[in-house]
């Protein structure tokens, strides 16, 4: 399903066939081109999406995968997934809820969303419904059910060590497109890499000084665009306006030592 890069010359007829097939399939597929879409809020990514894809943004009706690059990057991946979810929810005049579900393993390993911290990340705690540990098939079922519910604005599912099968992701992807609601699937490093029918796949890695290195590993909205392999380095500002303070105030080692030495 992955579009082949740079077909060799002798297969031109094959690539033509492929292009024809793709046009044909595009006619049957529920289109993402006309549905609502959002800006991610990161200038570089938005600029790239505006240039390369038809809806000029991230389509709401779709399955978006966020994969941690290394084992320790799951919090960063979840943070990016949460950031996308908040952008999806951030539509005027709606009080839609965010459904956040985790597998048992993800619950244990990556922790549960913490209510008092949510306002700093652009979401009020009373707009969160949380599934506190389920098996992956149950979680995917819950995601599909929630896609059909008009009061849910976005769904984030997270799994630590197993990814949904291609069939499951295809099913969820179609359901999301039909419902025009986004489903964000956050996957741990052990779960990433398998085939999936997601509209986009983002690889996220934590960078020092509160940064994320985000790479768009897969983009299904366009057959021609190849995302930049080097990705983007993002330094997300705190989302809420009233807390301008950064999450961590960087402090050189020497200073910390001298300060604590004084205290001691």
């Amino acid at each position: 399903m992955e579009p082949k890069p740079a077909a060799p010359l002798k297969h031109t007829s094959k690539s033509q066939k492929l292009a024809k097939l793709r046009r044909l399939v595009a006619r049957f597929e529920p289109g993402v081109a006309h549905g609502p879409h959002i800006q991610t809020g990161f200038a570089d990514i938005d600029a790239y999406l505006r240039q390369q894809v038809v809806p000029a943004g991230l389509p709401c009706g779709g399955l978006h995968e966020v994969v941690a690059t290394r084992v320790g990057d799951m919090p960063a991946a979840l943070g990016f997934a949460h950031r996308l979810a908040v952008r999806f929810l951030d539509r005027p005049h709606t009080q839609d809820m965010l459904l956040y579900g985790q597998t048992h393993m993800a619950c244990r390993e990556a922790g549960q969303p913490y209510g008092p911290a949510l306002p700093a990340h652009g979401l009020s705690a009373d707009r969160l419904v949380y599934i506190d540990g389920a098996r992956l098939p149950d979680l995917l079922w819950a995601g599909e059910e929630a896609l059909l519910c008009s009061a849910i604005g976005c769904i984030v599912l997270s799994s630590w060590d197993e990814a949904p099968s291609f069939t499951a992701s295809r099913r969820l992807s179609l359901a999301a497109r039909a419902a025009e609601r986004p489903l964000v699937m956050a996957l741990g490093a052990q779960a990433g890499g398998s085939a999936s029918a997601a509209t986009t796949r983002w690889q996220v890695e934590a960078l020092p000084q509160q940064g994320w290195h985000v790479r768009l590993a897969k983009l299904r909205m366009s057959y021609t665009a190849t995302p930049p392999p080097e990705g983007w380095r993002l330094y997300p500002q705190s989302l809420s306006q009233n807390s301008a303070q950064n999450i961590l105030q960087s402090q050189p080692r020497g200073q910390a030592a001298s300060r604590t030495a004084r205290a001691g």
């Binding site: 949510l118 009373d126 419904v129 949380y130 059910e145 519910c149 000084q209």
Partner: protein, 568 residues
């Protein structure tokens, strides 16, 4: 005599009064059938109801007047006619008398919601015994005390011309016995005395009563008479094991129940549900598909009932009766009142498919009953479920279900498959301890919990940016390799991975809640020490929230470090 000395000394069974904490009223209507009958008769003359039992026509119901004339229950009609030639008689209607008693039980719910029928008596003499039991624990003060409550109740019965004997005690057994035997009906048929036994004094009140007051069977009562045991006190004087050997387990159990040494429950009789549908099948159904279809039909019928009266179900009870009379009961709470048959049917289907052992239909399910045991009024007929018509190609021009109802329907489906404790919402809680500052409350209860918390910390909430977006389920110990006293660690090991700290911010000191002990909550062990929280970033860019448990050299000499959360 089974025993030469009925009161061996020392008494092997010291009767220790046990306070049950309950207050029960036993009501006994000695002339219920006769006094409440609708059969026309001359009220100034004696009247009796007769029925066939023990191979003769016998009196089964009397009026007080007839009792005064010397008639008694169980007397054959021929003997009664010999005593009173002009006795008016009619055939008894036991079913109707029982129905009237049921009605009376509902009426008595004005005193307490917990009104029950007589506990099953061991003795089946063939004569119907009309009595009721009320659990009035905590209700008496609403009527001006126990005495006033009983007086009010008896006055109301008197106004209707019904003889009611009442006794109040701490146990079902004592109240039952005292109502019937506390005052002799034979010597004083009009007696409407009230007997109130103070808490813990059941023994003194019960011991002088005859053994029949223990709800014994006829055979046991006969045996007591033959042994010369005239009172319960005589019976209680024996060692319990000897009683059991002689009589079987029943008298000892009844004795202990009367004295409050053994528990006894009282089943309240509840009015039948207002919204109720059932389906009887000529042949048992074993196939799940057919069963799902039948349940779907029931749901649709119940939904019609609910909708026409403007109600929505908040709780559904389904019972499936197999051909061997085994009953499978399922109860389903709903997040929002619903009168949508399709939604209910889907919930049941989901629930039945998730039963751990499946539905054991045995030789077939013959009877299905569905009741909405809790309902609430809803405004207007509900739209068909919004969720399933939300697909954009179908919804154009159609109204969507109200978001609140759509959310309720989603909650119902998630809960029925995943379990009530799994689908939760964060509800803030007034506490400075980070893991207690928020509670994950099941969605079905979250609305109530939202309003309940009166003392919120909204005035001085910690800055959300200083809290981790993801909190570990429990703090995990970390191994700090290089540390300085009163400072953040340089290097630590968490989940077997070594982290070099490149930046630190802190400490944020969080002390245990000193008032927790005063309000009755005992702080858990790990909440007894002061914590110093640090926000760290390692050289890889991973961000953590860790704390040191205990103040250096004041609370502990070897502080332990814990990982508590992660920042994105």
């Amino acid at each position: 005599m089974a025993h030469p000395n009925p009161n061996p000394n020392p008494n092997p069974n010291p009767i220790v009064p046990i306070a049950t904490g309950r207050r029960l009223i036993a009501l006994w209507f000695p002339y219920w059938a006769g006094e409440t009958t609708k059969i026309p008769h001359d009220k100034t003359q004696s009247f009796a109801l007769i029925d066939h039992y023990k191979n003769a026509q016998r009196l089964v119901g009397l009026t007080p007047l007839a009792a005064q004339m010397g008639l008694s229950l169980g007397l054959s009609l021929a003997d009664a006619r010999a005593l009173l030639p002009d006795l008016q008689t009619a055939m008894a209607e036991p079913m109707e008398a029982a129905a009237r008693l049921q009605k009376c039980a509902y009426w008595l719910q004005r005193y307490t919601p917990w009104v029950g029928h007589n506990p099953s008596s061991d003795g089946q003499t063939g004569l119907a015994d009309y009595g009721l039991l009320l659990d009035v624990s905590g209700c008496a003060h609403l009527f001006g005390g126990e005495r006033a409550l009983l007086a009010d109740m008896q006055a109301r019965f008197l106004n209707r011309g019904i003889t009611a004997h009442a006794a109040m005690a701490g146990t079902v057994g004592a109240a039952w016995g005292l109502a019937r035997f506390g005052v002799s009906a034979k010597t004083d048929p009009q007696a409407r005395r009230q007997i109130i036994v103070p808490e813990g004094q059941e023994a003194e009140a019960v011991l002088p009563l005859p053994p029949a007051a223990l709800r014994l069977s006829g055979g046991h009562i006969d045996l007591c008479q033959r042994l010369g045991l005239d009172t319960i006190g005589d019976l209680a004087g024996f060692a319990r094991r000897e009683l059991t050997r002689r009589f079987g387990p029943s008298p000892v159990l009844r004795l202990e129940q009367a004295l409050g040494q053994a528990g006894e429950s009282l089943n309240p009789c509840l009015p039948p549900p207002r919204f109720f549908v059932r389906h009887n099948l000529p042949h048992g159904v074993t196939q799940m598909e057919a069963l799902a279809q039948l349940i779907g039909d029931l749901c649709a019928r119940l939904a019609t009932q609910l909708e026409t009266s403007g109600h929505g179900a908040q709780r559904l009870d389904l019972s499936l009766t197999r051909s061997d009379n085994a009953v499978l009961a399922l109860s389903l709470p709903l997040a929002h009142p619903s009168a949508d048959g399709g939604h209910m049917a889907r919930l049941f289907e989901e629930r039945l498919s998730r039963l751990s052992r499946g539905v054991d239909a045995g030789y077939g399910i013959e009877h299905l009953a569905l009741a909405a045991s809790r309902t609430a009024p809803i405004s207007g007929p509900q739209e068909t479920m919004g969720a399933f018509e939300d697909a954009p190609n179908k919804t154009r021009g159609k109204r969507r279900a109200a978001p609140i109802a759509a959310l309720g329907n989603l909650y119902d489906r998630l809960v029925s498959r995943l379990g009530a404790q799994v689908v939760v919402r964060p509800v803030p809680h007034a506490s400075y301890i980070p893991e207690r500052a928020v509670k994950l409350v099941p969605v079905l209860k979250a609305d109530a919990a939202d309003k309940k918390d009166p003392q919120s910390l909204s005035a001085n909430l910690p800055d959300p940016a200083t809290r981790p977006l993801f909190m570990l389920c429990a703090p995990e110990p970390i191994e700090v390799i290089a540390e300085i006293p009163e400072g953040a660690p340089y290097r630590f090991r968490w989940r077997r991975v070594l982290h070099e700290v490149s930046a630190a911010y802190g400490p944020e000191r969080i002390s245990p809640e000193w008032w927790a002990g005063l309000t009755g909550e005992t702080p858990k062990h790990h909440n007894r020490q002061t914590r110093d929280y640090y926000r760290l970033e390692d050289t890889q860019g991973h961000r953590f929230w860790i704390y040191r448990d205990g103040l250096y050299s004041r609370e502990t000499t070897r502080p332990r470090w814990f990982m508590h959360g992660v920042f994105p």
